[in-house]
Each structure stands twice: as structure tokens, then as C-alpha cells.
């Protein structure tokens, strides 16, 4: 019996995830080193049935490990000259519902709990929360952001109601626009432009929460999408996804998806988490040589029932 069925309402779903990244370097590359966060993380509501990673050309060195945030990590080194590189991750996962959240205390009480007091010994939850409380590469702590978020955080309002209100606001007020931003767009620009992609909205929400003194982390993964009515599911039509989790003393980490204005559910497949995108970048590489290039990325998230129709065979268990 899988771990997933022991939690939540008992609903269970199985997915196949294919994540293919192709680099065409243009000029020869003498040496490449790639650090990958492409392995789904095992969680009480998420079981990793299988995971394989294929690199072409084959890596001369391969290492697997766990990073400082507990995420699975793979490192590839390619020491022979090459002009292109394909990295293909294929995983089967089984998801159940996430645990129900309890009644949450006021947001100010959570904030105050995270302020350092000499002599106070923080418990395990507070210590975990302390890692995700400050600025990081993509997350800013600024008065401007706190003031912008304040409208959703009325005095005395419960933490989760406040965060939910902020989550809905981002969903309602911001337009999804892949042309508007790139990886390095600062959150302040996202706030002013009112547009961006899921990473931007996650970083914005993290910035707002941390500027208020709350602890929140970046979630990296995939989301099951539904094709438009009447259209078939297509291979490679999906993308990696990002959302956030906020720390709540009596519920632990509660996940919100500002891009879709929902809490994370049975369609949110988790790769891992960190302070921001930089800690869990799906593929991060350094090469010696090569020219300007942009990788092409194909992601498919496929429910078990659709697998045969798409790939022409039933899954080999």
C-alpha cells in the first residue's frame, strides 16, 4: 500500500512526467558540469515509483546526492568534446491529498514567534522556518513590498486567511505573460508591470511574505494541466511549475499557487524546495567553450489513464 493513500481524503493519482532539455551549443564544448534538480522528492503524500535520467552524450561522471534542503540532486560531468546535449528525466509518481490544515493563529503572532529573543530556544519548526525568512538571490525584503501586501493582512486576521487573500490577489491582478520577464527580472519590476510567469509570481509572493516577517519557501515541480475541451493531450505541451509554501506553527508548511489562485492539490507534483529558484533550479550548468544558446525544453505531465494513448504502450510497472 502506498504512502499516498494513508493521507487526506484517500484520493490517489498516478502521473508520468517527462522533462527533456536539449542544448545546441553552436560551438564545441570541451567540458560541461550540470547540477540537476529533476528528481521528484519523496513526501508523505508523494511516492516516487520510478525515476530515470538519460544524458546524451553519456556523462563521464554521475553523482547523486541530497542538497542542504533535503532535495534529491544529480550531478553530471561531461569531459569529452561535444556540440549538443540532451538531458531527459522520466518519472512515475503517485500523489495523494496533502494533509488538512488546522485553524491558524493571527499572522502577527506567527511573525512575532520568528523574531529572535535572547535565551529562547527555537523548536524544530521555528528552526526550519528560520531558513526561509530572509532575502535571497531572487527574493527581496523591502518596505515597499510589505506595504503592498498589507491590504491582505488586516490586524488580527488569521495567517492562512491572509495568505489566501494575497494568493487570490496575485491571481486576479497579475497577467500570465511569458514575454514580460526572464529569469533575472527583479520582483520589484514584476510588481510594477503586473505580469510575469509562475516563477515571478512565486518570488513576488515570497518577497511580500518575508517582507512582513513571515517564513515562506519556493516550491519547484509540475502541475497537471487539462487540455482545452475537445483537444487531445499533447506531448511536450507542459512546463515546469513553481508555487510557494508558508510556515504556519500548527499546520507546518501550507502550499499556495499564486499563478492559479489555489492551494496546492493532487495535481501539484513536487521536485523540491528552497529559498528561491536559485536553490532548486531544475538544470544548472557550467560549460567551457560553446556559443550563445538557449535550450529547448519539452515537459509532459500525463495521468496514468492517458499514457497508452500518447505513448502507444501501457506502462511497464
Amino acid at each position: 500500500m502506498s504512502a499516498a493513500t494513508e493521507n487526506g481524503s484517500g484520493a490517489v493519482a498516478r502521473y508520468f512526467v517527462s522533462h527533456l532539455t536539449r542544448y545546441d551549443y553552436g560551438r564545441p564544448v570541451a567540458l560541461g558540469r550540470h547540477v540537476l534538480h529533476l528528481t521528484p522528492r519523496a513526501l508523505p503524500w508523494q511516492r516516487v515509483i520510478s525515476h530515470e535520467l538519460e544524458a546524451t552524450p553519456e556523462a563521464s561522471e554521475r553523482l547523486t546526492g541530497i542538497d542542504a534542503f533535503g532535495n534529491p540532486i544529480e550531478t553530471l560531468a561531461i569531459a569529452l568534446q561535444h556540440h549538443d546535449l540532451d538531458v531527459h528525466a522520466r518519472s512515475w509518481v503517485e500523489l495523494g491529498e496533502r494533509p488538512q490544515t488546522a485553524e491558524s493563529p493571527s499572522w502577527e503572532s506567527v511573525r512575532d514567534r520568528l523574531v529572535f529573543r535572547a535565551g529562547h530556544r527555537p523548536d524544530a519548526g521555528e528552526r526550519d522556518a528560520a531558513r526561509f525568512l530572509f532575502e535571497s538571490r531572487h527574493v527581496r525584503v523591502k518596505r515597499e513590498l510589505a506595504e503592498w501586501a498589507a491590504r491582505s493582512f488586516a490586524p488580527g486576521k488569521s495567517l492562512l486567511d491572509s495568505v489566501r487573500a494575497l494568493n487570490n490577489r496575485i491571481h486576479a491582478e497579475f497577467a500570465f505573460d511569458p514575454e514580460a520577464t526572464h529569469v533575472a527580472t527583479p520582483v520589484i519590476d514584476v510588481l510594477r508591470k503586473r505580469r510575469g510567469v509562475c516563477q515571478d509570481f512565486a518570488h513576488l509572493m515570497l518577497s511580500a511574505l518575508r517582507s512582513l516577517g513571515l517564513s515562506a519557501r519556493y516550491m519547484s515541480g509540475y502541475l497537471l494541466t487539462t487540455p482545452p475541451p475537445g483537444s487531445p493531450r499533447l506531448v511536450g505541451a507542459d512546463a515546469s511549475h513553481a508555487w510557494i509554501a508558508v510556515w504556519c506553527p500548527n499546520s507546518g508548511w501550507v502550499e499556495f499557487d499564486p499563478t492559479n489562485g489555489v492551494q496546492a492539490g493532487i495535481g501539484h507534483i513536487t521536485l523540491g524546495w528552497g529559498r528561491d529558484f536559485g536553490d532548486v533550479t531544475p538544470l544548472r550548468g557550467v560549460i567551457v567553450g560553446g556559443g550563445e544558446h538557449t535550450p529547448s525544453i519539452e515537459v509532459s505531465v500525463v495521468p496514468e489513464a492517458d499514457y497508452a494513448a500518447l505513448f502507444g504502450a501501457t506502462r511497464r510497472a
Partner: protein, 837 residues
Amino acid sequence: MSAAPFAHYRCPPRHFDEAFEADGRPRAAWQALVAALDSGGGKALSRQADALRRMVELDGITYNVYADPQGADRPWSLDPIPLVLSADDWQTISLGIAQRAQLLDRILADLYGPQDLISEGLLPPALAFGHPGYLWPSQGISPVGGRWLHLYAADLARSEDGRWWVVHDRTQGPSGVGYAMQNRRLVARGQLDLFRSAHVAHLADFLRSLRDAISQIAPIAAGETPRIVLLTPGPWNETYFEHSLLARHLGFALVEGQDLTVRQDRVYMKTLQGLQPVHAILRRLDDDYCDPAELRADSALGIPGLLAAVRAGNVLVANGLGSGVLETTGIHGFLPGICERLLGETMRLPSVATWWCGEAPALAHVLEHLDELVIKPAFPGMSPEPVFGHRLDSAGRAALAKRLRATPHAFLAQEWVRLSQAPSLQADGRVAPRSVGLRVFALATPDGYRVMPGGLARVAPEADDDVVTMQRGGASKDIWVLSKAPVAREPLASAPITPPELLRAEAVIPSRIAENLFWLGRYAERCEAQVRLLRAAINRLSDGDADALSGLQSLAAVARAQGLLGKPDDEGEAPDQPSDADWLDAILDAQAVGSLHANARRLQRAGSQVRERLSADNWHALNRLPQVLEHAAPGIAGAAEALDHAMLLCVSFAGFAMDDMVRDAGWRFLLLGRRIERLAGLGGLISHYLQSDARQHADGLEWLLETTNSIVTYRSRYQRQPEMLPVLDLIVFDRDNPHALGFQLDVLARYLSRLGRDFGARFDNDPAPLLETLRRFDPTRYHNLALLGEVAPGNPQLDALAAFAARAQLTAWGLSDELSLRFFSHAEQALRSAEAA
């Protein structure tokens, strides 16, 4: 001017005077020095200061200032008056620093390990996790030998009551040890008698201990000798001078990130001899730049995979990656409690009183007492600059208070310490009190931390200035720590090398060094050849006769072909005779791509990359060359004078290369560069001469001999006017004339066959066939050329010779490309990083 240097010396109120008691008598430790300075008088002191300045300039001691538009290198500023500390003062400092270094090392081990200090509420998480220097990828690493902090520096200040306080900790890659050693060498020389009689503690052993300590724990396989390198960000770093100095003194190879590579979790140096294992890295590169695969992705300076090698325990990195997290004064207030917990001791040396605003009571105190405090960002690299509370008006205070309340954990306040005053020589020859701060150093040995008995003192440039930093233009001082017992005479050169250390002389040459030496050779020869050509041209400018003018035309054509003068325009019109201004630009205009000045700068840059392989004189000659062109007097006369001076420098540099440098594989690359450049230059010159109508002019042979520096040889051999046959014999066929084609081919063939032996290299552009062709040319067939008039265009022998010279030029260029591909290509390639979602 003034005979008594201290005549106008008055310490300002509410400051401690390092040299004098309140009643004006010198302190015991200073008596001898003050007496010596007084008896020597102001003149002696000024003379010493001048001598110091000259030595600093000669040694090329520099401190690069990023913000300085005057160019990268600024001479090191050194006060001839040392700062003297009594044995008792030093006892306090050295015990305190050794304890503090040990404490900080243990804190690092905890922060990157179990984090008990956070669990126990002894350290606010904000000071670790909110610090941009906390490197999550280092979490869980247990470094080689269990040690994080190998070299530590602290900045100290003395308050009004005479007590010492720690102002800053330097835990990443502290700078200053090299400058301190250099200061000692120079200042002690100026005060030699006094220095020897005063029982001043030695510095020389400190570096040796550093080297021994690292060698002892470097992880080596059985039978290996540890290879230790000093990792520098490169010549543009503000303390690069020190990096190369330390590397030389420690006997470590000075490397940049691109010289190293990681394979199978081991670090290797890329050398001409292939990949060589590296066991320990003393780094001066900032933490987050060290590994673009796991740390800052945009760092082109780092070594991809270094962290993985550290994690695997295969390399020692000193200091540990992530040690910069302790460079926050925010932690100072928590150190006494942590010291009790980790060492079971009380702190011996206090920190300047510090309030970290992340604690509510501390914030309240800070807002209440702004006048007595200096407000600073909690973490390095953050704005704003330190703010002295007492200098703010009410609007400024309100704005500051608002910022503090918004992100209190990002700020701290320090008590405003009125720095102690030390006698400091001013430009006018007087001695005046100036604020002084100390930087002292400690290194980890197997028996605990050892503190360098001395260090670097820095003085503020102005009176009433309470900030001391080299970045803002202060001067430095040597620190003399007096011992109670006599000390043996300090060797002011470096310590003698013991027999086992002789093994270190094995010549492993990093590929990048070979490449820079190669280009050093090419640019040195290019500059020298250009100076000759330009001199020949300038001499003819002032001469009005027809012969000189035709010579000038030829020189202009050659100069155009070499890119020294602008090319003719697109219409292919016969170019006009260049104006005087065009010739001046070719010499002096640093912005013109092919000018002498531009090449002199390239030469200097190539030299700066291999600075540690050049003697001081050698480097001095390189450094002077662009300066001479920069400061040439106006007009043709000025340029001519500059060219004469430039020629002396070029020739002396060439002499140094032959007489001054070890003839290892690196040296051969320097010579290869020189010979290849000369082969290309001569080939171009001779083929141009033979194909143009220059050969019909009397002046043609004259300038050919001048530009090939063969005129003296010709005159001494033939004692008559130049004639074509002997001239061609001298500059084409003669194997003994270092300015002949034949000589270059001969020497190149020898060097290349040596390269082939050493590295198994083969070359398509082998000079051997050209040498064979040269042998087959028969000078006797040219006997009818003796009379100038008979040399008409279309002479088949001369055409064949011109084709030969042109081929020699192509061979030179081809060889240069081949050498680059074979030996330098992996050194040249830049790192690129990419992220994909």
C-alpha cells in the same frame, strides 16, 4: 624645514596617544625611536620618506583601487615612522587574537554542521541565514583537518582609556600579510641601527609556519608531495600585488580559476605537462565566486566542481568555503556567550560595543542613543556607508529610524570609538598625530593559532578623521613589537631554503602562464621593431632631401602594412605621404589600435599576468615603457626623445630575458614569441622592400639596415656605403646575425624540436623546409645586383627571394596559431553558465 620633527606635535583631546604620555614624555617603548628621530631631524626623516617612495616604486608595490580613474595601480603608501608596541600591549593582543581565531573557527564548524548555537538560542538565525555569505551548499561539509579558518585577521582600535578593541573580523581571505612583510623589509632598512638594537620581534617565520601548516594537513596519496596553489581573482584585484608576493615567498604556484579543473572530484592544474594534481588551495577569491556550478552562477573566476572536491575531502581550501559568513559585526554582541559555551572561557579581547538591531531591546537602545553610535549595515556589500549618528540632522535621523524599523535585522550600531593617535610623517616634513588602526594576523597550526608578532597599521589621511582604510587613501605603517628578551637578528630577506624544498623548483608551468609569456615575447619584439621603424621615419621627417623623402615613403608603406599607420582608403588610391601628426599618432596615441603606445600597453598587461616570474628591474622596464610614451614632450623632438628612451627600455628588457630568467619551458615560450614575431616582421619588411620601387632608391638599403638594427654590423664588416648583395646576405642568409631571417629560422627549428621532445608536439608550419630552401639559394647568383641601376623590376632571383620572405612571414603566423591551439586553447576558453527550468 623644521629641525625638530615633533615641534608641532599635539595630540587632540579625548584620544589615546600611542607615543607620548599625557605629560609629553615619550612612552617607554617609544623612547629610543623618538630620540633617534629627534636627533636625525626633519631632514633625515624626509630623506627616508623619499627613499621609501623610491623603493616602493622600484619594487612595484601597488594597491589597486577599483574606483580610481587614474588607472589600476596606485603605489603603496608607507610611513617611515613605525608604530611601536610594548611587550605588554602585545601580550594582551596576541592572547586575545589567538582565542578569537579559535572561537570563530568553532563557530564556523557549528554553523555548517549541527547548528547548536542556533538551537540553543545563543546566535540569532538572521545573522547566519540572513547573511548573504552563508553558503547553503557548504552545509554538512567537514573540511580537511576539521579546520575552517586557516588564516585570520582582525582590525583593532585603541580607545581613550588605552584598551584594545576588535572592530572587524576578516575570515574569508584576509589581505595584508604580504604588505606587512614588505613594510618591515623597507622600514627596518631605513632605521637599521635602531631596529637591531630595539629587540623587535620577527615576522619572517610566520609565512613559513603558514606553508608548513597547510602542507601538513593537505590530503595527499601515499608518495605524493603536496602541491599547494594560491588562487587569485587576477591582476585587477586590489591586492594582486600581495597575491604574487605571497605566492613567491610561500613557493606556491599563483593561479587563476581557469588554471584549475576538477575531474572525478579531484582538483588539477592545467599545465604544459598536462593535468597535475592540486592538494590545497590558499584562496584570495571570495567565497561565492569559487564554484559557478554550485555557488554564484555568473562567476567566470571560479572552478566548476570545486565544492564537490571539497565535499569529497580531496582538497583543502583555506579558508573554508563559506567562512565569509562571520564577516559581520552583528555577531560581536553574542561572542561572549558563545565563547563560554564553545570554549568554556571568557573573552580575552572585547569587541567594540555593538548592538544588533534585530533584537527589540537593542533597536530601542540604538534609536535612543544615535549620537554616540555609528550605524552600519549588518552584512558586507550592503548599503549604506557607515553613518555617524552625531553628524545627522533631524530629517536624517528620522529617515534612518524609519529604515531601522523596517528591516531591523539588517542593521547594527557600534559605539563610536575615538581612535588612538600615532605620530605620522606629513608631506611638509612635520610629524602630526593621526588616527591609527591595526590589522593583525593569526594562522592555524596543529598546536593552535599562532599570531604574527606585528602587522599592518593604517593611519587616516586627515586630522580628525576616524576612518582608516587604504581604499580612502590612508598610509600604512610597520608595527614593531618589542620583546623583553633580545632576539636574534632578523633576516630581512626571506628565510633560507632547506634541501627538501629544492624539489619545489620542478618546473610545472600553468598553460596560462606559458601563453602570457609567449605574448610577452611577441609584444616585446613588436614594440622594439616599431621603435626602430618609427625612429627611422622621424629622423627622415626633419630631413628635406629627396632620398630621405623616398625612404620615408617606403617606411610609411611598411608602417601601413603593419597597422602602425592607418590603412589607405577603400578606393585603393596611392596613399598620401603621412603628415607629421600621423607619425606622432603612430607613436603616442594609445587609442589607435596598432600604435606603439597601444602595443606598449599590451606588453605591460601581458607582463602583469606573469609578474611573479619577472625580476623587479625587469618589471620596472616594462612598466616604464607606456609611461615614457604617455609623458612624451610635445612635437617631433619630444617624440624622438621618447623613442630613444623607449629603445633603451626595450633593449634592457630583452637583456633581462636572456640573462635574468630561468631557462625553463616557460622561458622558451617567451623566446618563441620573440622569434616568431621577429620572423614575421622581417619577412614582411624584406618582401616589401624587394617588391617595391624602394630598391631603386639610394636610401632603400639605408632604412632597411636601420630598421633591422644591422647597420653597425654592416659598417664594421664592409666599411662602405650599403650595397644590395651584402645587405641581403646580412639580413636574409646570415645565421649569426640575430636580425636575419636565417637566424630566426635556425633558432625556431631548435626550440620547436625541443618542444616536440618535451611534449610530443608536431607542427605543420615547421621552419625546417624553409631553412632547406634558404640553403639552396646561392648568393653568388646575385653578383650582378651589385650595381643599383641594374636592378629592374621583374628580376627572377629577387622575386624568388621576395616570395621566400613572404612565406617566412606566413609560417610565423601559422606557427603562432598552432602553438595557441596546441598549448593554450584550454586556457583561453571562458566559462558560460546557464539555468533552465
